[in-house]
């Protein structure tokens, strides 16, 4: 699958409190959560972001709370892929479980600026900047993660494992 969109470039250590502030944690509806995404730090984001857009960030993206509300909000806004220097581990697992592609690729982060148009081949990890000529490949995901993604995400994977456990 190939995704393409405008890039929203964020800095290092973007935490889950920024992505969905704590006061909204009694919400579970994805669209409601999306309506508060980054509202304290990037108020124009929710109104301007378009389905297919790509978020590019620095180190330790998604650090802080375990709140899955954060990647749920990004996904509900239609973000097609995340690219970062590195991801906080709980956030990364949450992305995989939700089927929100999260690529670790510092080389691409350095060559992409806010507002650039970027195309990403999610099968090969190929990242192409259409605004300023650049391309590279993100390292592929480990096999065990591909297994979860191939099963259709964690929820489908659990159904498969429950069948195996029954046998």
């Amino acid at each position: 699958m190939v995704v393409q969109g405008r890039v929203w470039k964020l800095g290092d250590n973007v935490d889950t409190d920024q992505l969905v502030p704590g006061r909204y944690l009694s919400l579970t509806d994805p669209q409601e959560l999306a309506s508060h995404c980054l509202e304290d730090v990037l108020p124009q984001f929710r109104a301007s972001v378009k389905p297919g857009d790509i978020v590019v960030a620095g180190e330790n993206f998604g650090c802080g709370s375990s709140r899955e509300h954060a990647p749920i909000a990004l996904k509900a806004l239609g973000i097609s892929c995340l690219v970062a220097d590195s991801f906080a581990r709980i956030f990364f697992r949450n992305c995989i479980n939700l089927g929100l592609p999260a690529l670790t690729c510092p080389e691409a982060v350095a060559a992409i600026e806010d507002g650039d148009e970027v195309r990403i081949d999610l099968d090969t990890g190929r990242i192409e900047n259409l605004t300023q000529p650049f391309q590279c490949s993100a390292p592929p995901l480990p096999d065990f993660l591909t297994e979860i993604i191939d099963a259709g995400g964690m929820t489908a994977y659990v159904r498969k494992r429950m069948r195996e456990q029954d046998v």
Binding site: N13, D15, D17, Q18, P21, G22, R23, L25, S26, L27, T28, D40, V41, E59, N60, C63, G64, S65, S66, R67, E68, H69, P71, I72, S86, A88, R89, I90, F91, R93, N94, N97, L98, P142, F144, M154, T155, Y157, V158, R159, R161, M162, Q165
Partner: protein
Amino acid sequence: MGMTLTEKILARASGQERVKAGDIVRARVDLAFAQDTTMPLAVIELRRMGVEGVFDPDKVAIVCDHFVPNATVSSAEQTRLLRDFAREQGLAHYYEAGRGSNFGVEHALLPEEGLIRPGMVIVGGDSHTTSYGALGAFASGFGSTDVAAAMALGEVWLRVPETMLFVYSGRLRPWVGAKDLILYTIGRIGVSGALYRSMQFTGPVIQSLTVDQRLTMCNMGVEAGAKNAIVPVDEETRRYLEARDIRDVPLLDSDPDARYHSVTEISISEIEPQVACPSSPGNVKPLSKVANTPLDAVFIGSCTNGRIADLRVAARILDGHRVSSNVRLIVIPATQKIYLQALHEGLLETFAQAGAAVSTPTCGPCFGGHMGVLAAGERVISTSNRNFVGRMGHPESEVFLSSPAVAAASAVVGRIAHPDDVM
């Protein structure tokens, strides 16, 4: 080649003789739990998974602690959903403010209730699940879908982490304790300094800490990005567990020839009280560099520092003083048992006499949920664990993190202060 403490636990839990950092294992889960902001999403996922019953109702816990007592109609709906779910599943361990023999902030509550034992693999729907390494367990935070999967299957996939060994030696100066040690450590390695890794705390200073103090340190391991934080099981661990009728616990440590990612020796003799400044737990400075910063509020409590020893220190400093008219002080014992103990010892009276607002156990102010939210431009010193932008209220408010001793002294002075300033 021997194994680290974390490798040993994950080897046993995955039914293997040995594992090494980088291996992917499927580990048996001894306890899976979540709280009132993460569990509702897990319930939704469990239903999507088609799960009728959790893998073991005795090994699944729900702690309603964030928005309790229910702060809003939507949070009331969430706790009701969880209360109904717990009843339907026959869960042995469901906790909510205002009922039962104990309730409160999860990471203070679950060890206190004897649910945490050395060698366990614990999946928690809360990032500060790293706390339980203080009792020699492997404990890590997960999102709701992972929690749901663990509750359904009784297993979790994990990449075995490399271990960073931290060895603390020297003599603690007066008013310096576990909170200062962990703030100092995070300040040194940064908020991603232990990303995906295990932090193991050892050395004579760690051996001299109580389990409660070790919980404070392990609690904040995640603020350096760690997957888990852990302390070897020693006589102090055994004493803590024996008080909860858990006996004959074997000592547990890394093998002498275990391989570490790194070994960091930290001499603590010269360390003064530490303060994490806005807006990162890694922005740590010695107290003397930020002393006299004006404040609007002080919070003493949370899963980091809401235990009885924390309240005793704060009460000792506040005793005979009044909270400065420039600030509001909120004190929240982390669990009902701690609340009762503090009541019995007269600590709550000391806080109330000093002018503090004393509340029933809740996470409320720590995450900007309720019970003391900050306005624009306000500044708080808090004994909690996170000071991100907007963490405790308005995005233009500021959070400083410190020990209970520094927070209590600051409440008296109305500015960031050293306990010696009021004692």
